[in-house]
Symmetry: D2
Subunit: 342 residues, 4 copies
C-alpha cells in the first residue's frame, strides 16, 4: 500500500520541489496539495513544470485538508508548523521544511527569529554523526536549512577528526530560488542577472546558529561561524567555500583521509577525485552534494568547497531522504544523484 | 534481460544527455561509452553530473568498442554515422542523433550539407502522422534536429487540418548547448550571457529543409519555411514562435479543435489551457513539449509557440522515446514529463 | 546657461536610465528627481549605480516639484502624463516616456489601452521620415515604445522603398527590464533565468498598433503586424526579427541599396557589413541600433534583424536624442554609440 | 595636442575595454590597435560594440606598429611586456595590463609564474598609501590584477589602521570575462550559465602573492591571504568577501572611522552608507569600487565586501586612471563612476 503524502505550501519553490520528487517516488501517492494565496487555482497554472499534476486543484491549508495522510510535508513560513503538526496527531510523519524545529538552543532561536522557541525535532541531515539513527522511526523531522546543509557537509569531517580550529569562515553563493517566490524588487530578474551581492553580512543571517550547532556538536566544543551569504545570478544551487585554521601537525594526507572516512560511504555525498572541484551545475536537480578539500599550507587553512542544489539536497531532497529513513524505506528511494547538465 | 546500450560520442552534450536518460531507464544497461578527443579519461572528469558513471572510462569510438550491444546511440559529427552503422550489422538498433539520415531529398541534403547523401532512416518524431508506426521494429532511427522537433510539433496540427497557407514563418530561440561543446569564441559565457543574437538568417540554417520536409508531408503540398534561429542566454531550451496565414473561413474554434485532436493523446506533448503560454523553464530536463496556439484575426495568422528542452525532447529524449517504440517497450519508459524548475 | 531638467518617476528603470544619460550630458543640469512610493528616500538606496546622485532625495511627483525646469522627463504609468503636462505650461519641454501620446488613432488607443485618448505629440523616433523635422522646436515629445523603436528601424527602409508586402511578422526578445521594476512573481530572477517565454501573443500587445502606425505611414498604405514579444533571460536589450514577403522583382541588391540609403547617414543606426549580424550585447548601454537584412529567396521574404538597448535607444536615449533636436542642440550630445561589452 | 595612444592586444577583453574608455577620453587620440591572431581583421568584426572604431584594421603587434605614440597600453599574455617596453624607449608611457611587473618579490614571481622575474614597475592602484605619488610622472605602470584591486581596496583600510590580524580570508566571485577570450570548454556559455564553481583553490592562484604584497606593505608586517576565486554566471564584475580577525579592543566605531578616513576622499571608491551592501550590477562598466564593512562580534572578525567591474576598475579603468596621474591630467578624466544598471 503506497505512502499517502500531502504537501502544504505547494505553490512555493520548496513545496514544488517536494512534489517534483514525490512524483518520481515509487512508494508515494500524492494526496492533498495546499496553498494560501493560490488556493483555488490549478497546480498547472502555478507550477507548470509539474505536468502530471497540472489539473490538480490547490486547496486551502487547513487541518482538514491535511488529515488522512501518512506523511505531511510542510513548506510554510516559519512560525506556522507547530500548530499544524499538533492538529495532525503524533502518528503522522510531519516533515517540516521550515526553520521552527531546527535549533536546540531556545535563546539562539529567539535572538535570530524574534519569536518563542517551538521545540526541537530530529534533524534531517542523515550524514551528520548520529543523525541517521535519530531519524529511524521518527514522526517529526526538521529539515535543515539549505546553507547549513552545504556547510555542515563540507566541514563536519574536519571537525569530527579534530583537524581544524573551532573558528570557521564561510562564504556561500546561492541561486535566487533560495529567497523564495514572494516577489520583491531586489529579486527581480533585472536586478539579479549579471550581479553578485551579499546580504545578512556580519553574523546576522538566521542560518548561522544552525551551522554553529551542527559543527559544535561534531567538534565537541563551541564552533564560531563567520558566515556571509551572497546572491548569485542563477536559479538554483549553493556553492559554499568554507575554511578554518588547520591544527598543528595536520598534513594533507590526514585531511584527505578524514574526508574519505567521513564521506566515503554516503550515498548522496561525493568527495571528488583530487584536483577536481565541484560546480553547482553538476548537481542541478539532483540530491548529490559534491565536496572537495585542500590544505593551504601558506595560509595555514583547510579549505573545503561543497556544491548542492538548494531546493533538492538543500530542502526537498533532504526531506524525502529523511522521510525514507523514518519510514524504513531504502534511503535513496525516489532520489537521484544525477544532475541535469549542462 | 536488459537491453544493452552503447553511446558513441559520450563526452559531448547530446551523448551526455543520452547517458543521463539511460541511467534512469529500467530496461537498459549501459555498455560502452566512447569518445574521440577525450578517450582515456574518466567520465566523471568530463560529465561530472553523471555521478553513477564517474569511474567509467571513455574508450575510443571503434567498431570493436561498439560491438556486442543491442542498441547503439550515435552522437557524432555528421558524416560519420553510415560507416559506423554498417559495421554494426543490421540486427543492432542504431539510433543516430546526427543529421545524416534525416532528409529524404538527396538534393536538399547536398545543398545544405555539401556532401553526398547517405540515405534515409525512419524518423524519430513519433508524434508526426505515420511516424510511430514506421518506428515499430525499426533497426535504424534518424533522430530529428532540435529545431525541427519544436517547429514540427507546433505546426503539424495546423497543416494536418488544412488550416494554414503553406508559407510558415519561424523564429526560434535556443540555449547555447544546441551549439555543442566544441569551444568557439562566440559561445563563451562572456559573449552569450546578457545577449540575444541571430545566426543562419535567410534560409541557410541546415534544419530548414527538415522542417519543410515534415510540414510538407503533413500538408500534402510543399511548405516553405522562413526560419531564423537565435542564440539565447541560457544553457538549454528552445522556444519556437511559428506562424502562417490562416486559410479563409477558419475561426479560433477550428484551430483549437485541430490542436486538441492532433495533440490530445500524445504522452509527451501538452496543449496548454487557453491563455497559458509555454516557457522553456517548464520543460527543463524533461521530455515534454508544451504548445499553445492563437488566432490573430487582425493579422490573419495562426500563431503557435512551442517549448522543448533541446537536449531532451529535442535530442536524447526523442532518441530514447523512439528506441522504446522500436523495441516494443512502453513508449514512455525511462522518460519524464516533469521539468526541473524554477 | 545649462538646460535644467527634472525627472518624474526617477525610481523606476526608465527614469533611472534618463538620469544616467543626463549625468553625462554636458548641457544639462539635473533638477528635481521625483517618485511615488519611494519619495523620501535617497536616490543612492534605489539606484545605487548613479553614484554622483547618491545623496539626492527623491521627492513626491507634484506640479510644484516639477515646476521651474526647462525640460521635464516623464517616466510614469500611462494615463498620468496629460495632467502633469498641462500643469507645466506650454513653454516647458515635456518628454513623455510613457504611451499616452504615441498613437494618432483614438480608436486604436481605446481598444488597446481601455481609456480615453489623450492626444498625439511629435514622435521621438527621429530616423523615421519626417520625424526629425517635426521634433525641431517641439515642446511636447512622445517617446516611442521600446519594441516599436526596434521594429520600425528594422522595417521602415523596406516599406519606404516599396520592397515588401504590407504584412509584417515580428518576433522580438526583450530583457526583463522592459517589464519594469514593479515586482511580480513571473519576473523574479528564479523564473526569468534560463527561460524564454512569450506573452501578449496573437496581436494583443499594446505596442502592435504603434508599429502598424509607423510602418503604415512610411508605406503609404495600411500595414498589419503579427507581433509576438518574448521575455529573454537578460536584463537589457531587444532583438527584433522582422520579415515580410518581398514584392515581385526585388532582388538582394535592391534590398541592400534601400537599407544603405535609409540608414547610411543616421548617427545612431548602423547597418552592419554583409554577413555580420547584430547582438544585443553590442549595444548594451548605448544609443546604437544595429541592423542587418537578408533576402530569403526560397521563402520569398525579406528578413531584418535589429538590436537595441531597450532602456537606452528604446527609451531614455531616444528621449534625450529627441530633446537635443527639440532644443536645437547637436543630436548626439551626451549620447554614445559604444556598448559595454562583453 | 592630444595624447596619442596605442593598444596592443586590442582584440581581447582587456584591450577592448581600454579602447572603450579611451573613446570617451577627451585628451586621447587612438592610434594603432594591434592583435596577434586577429591581425588583418576590422575591429568591428571582433569588437562590435566599439562602433566608432568599426572600420579600423587590427595590425600585427610589432615594435613598428607601436612606435610613435605617447602612451602604449599592453594587454598581452604575460611574459611579453618587457621586450615590447624596451623597444618603445623610456620616454613613452607604457601601461601594462599584464602581470609581468606587479610583484617586487622575484622568488614569489618565479614560484607562481614559473618564469624569470622581469622587474617591478610603479603600481597602478592609486588608492594605496604612497601609490599615487609614485605614479606621478611615471613612464612605466604595472596595472594591478583584477582580484588584487578588489581585495586591496577592501582590506587596506583595516590594515592601515592596525585593526586586523595579518591573516586574511578572501572568497571572490568573478564574471567570466576575467578568464579572457581564448575559448576553452569550461568557459562555454552552456557551462557557465547557472553555475558557480571555484578554481585555483588552496593558495595557488597567481593573484595571491600580489594581495599579500599590497596588504603586507600597508600593515608593516607579512599578511597571509587564504584566497579562493570562484567563477560566477555573469560576464563582468568581481564581488570580494574579505575578512580577518579583529584585534582586541577594536569596536565597530573604530572600524567605521578607519574606513571613512581611508576611503572618504577617493574619487572612485565609495564607502556605502551603513546597512547598504555593494553589488556588481551597480558598478557595471564604471570605474567605481563600492565597499561596505561590518564587525561580526560573535565571530570576532571584520568582514568587508567590495564590488568592482573587473574589466573597468579592475583593469582598463585602473590603467586609464593611472595614465591620467602619470601624465599630470585630472585623475578622473574620461572615467565614470556611473554604472549601467539594471
Amino acid at each position: 500500500m503506497p505512502v499517502r503524502a500531502a504537501v502544504a505550501g505547494a505553490s512555493g519553490y520548496a513545496g514544488g520541489e517536494v512534489l517534483r520528487l514525490l512524483l518520481g517516488h515509487p512508494e508515494v501517492e500524492i494526496g492533498a496539495v495546499t496553498a494560501h494565496g493560490n488556493a483555488g487555482q490549478r497546480l498547472g497554472a502555478v507550477q507548470p513544470h509539474l505536468v502530471p499534476l497540472a489539473g490538480r486543484e490547490l486547496v486551502a491549508t487547513t487541518a482538514e485538508a491535511l488529515a488522512g495522510h501518512d506523511v505531511v510535508f510542510l513548506a510554510l513560513p516559519h512560525g506556522q508548523s507547530a500548530a499544524v503538526a499538533e492538529a495532525l496527531g503524533p502518528e503522522v510523519l510531519v516533515v517540516d521544511c521550515g526553520a521552527d524545529f531546527r535549533l536546540a538552543d531556545a535563546a539562539a532561536w529567539e535572538r535570530f527569529y524574534g519569536s518563542p522557541h517551538a521545540g526541537t525535532w530530529p534533524y534531517g541531515l542523515p550524514e551528520l554523526p548520529g543523525a541517521r539513527e535519530a531519524l529511524r522511526g521518527a514522526r517529526r523531522i526538521a529539515v535543515p536549512g539549505c546553507y547549513p546543509t552545504a556547510v555542515s557537509l563540507a566541514l563536519f569531517p574536519a571537525y569530527a577528526a579534530g583537524l581544524a580550529e573551532p573558528e570557521a569562515v564561510v562564504v556561500a553563493a546561492s541561486g535566487a530560488s533560495g529567497a523564495g517566490k514572494a516577489p520583491k524588487p531586489h529579486l527581480l530578474g533585472s536586478e539579479v542577472m549579471g550581479s553578485m551581492s551579499p546580504y545578512g553580512v556580519g553574523g546576522v543571517h538566521r542560518h548561522t546558529p544552525e551551522m554553529a550547532q551542527n559543527l559544535g556538536a561534531v567538534a565537541g566544543e563551541p564552533v564560531t561561524v563567520s558566515f556571509t551569504p551572497t546572491l548569485a545570478p542563477m536559479s538554483r544551487g549553493i556553492l559554499a567555500t568554507c575554511s578554518a585554521k588547520v591544527r598543528p601537525g595536520v598534513d594533507a594526507a590526514d585531511v584527505r583521509a578524514a574526508y574519505e572516512k567521513a564521506l566515503g560511504d554516503e550515498p548522496f555525498v561525493r568527495l571528488l577525485p583530487e584536483g577536481q572541484w565541484p560546480s553547482t551545475a553538476a548537481v542541478y536537480g539532483s540530491n548529490s552534494a559534491l565536496v572537495q578539500v585542500a590544505l593551504d599550507a601558506a595560509a595555514g587553512r583547510i579549505v573545503v568547497v561543497s556544491a548542492i542544489d538548494n531546493l533538492t539536497k538543500g530542502t526537498a531532497g533532504g526531506a524525502v531522504q529523511s522521510m525514507n529513513i523514518a519510514l524504513g524505506l531504502d534511503e535513496a528511494t525516489g532520489l537521484s544523484t544525477i544532475g541535469v547538465a549542462p
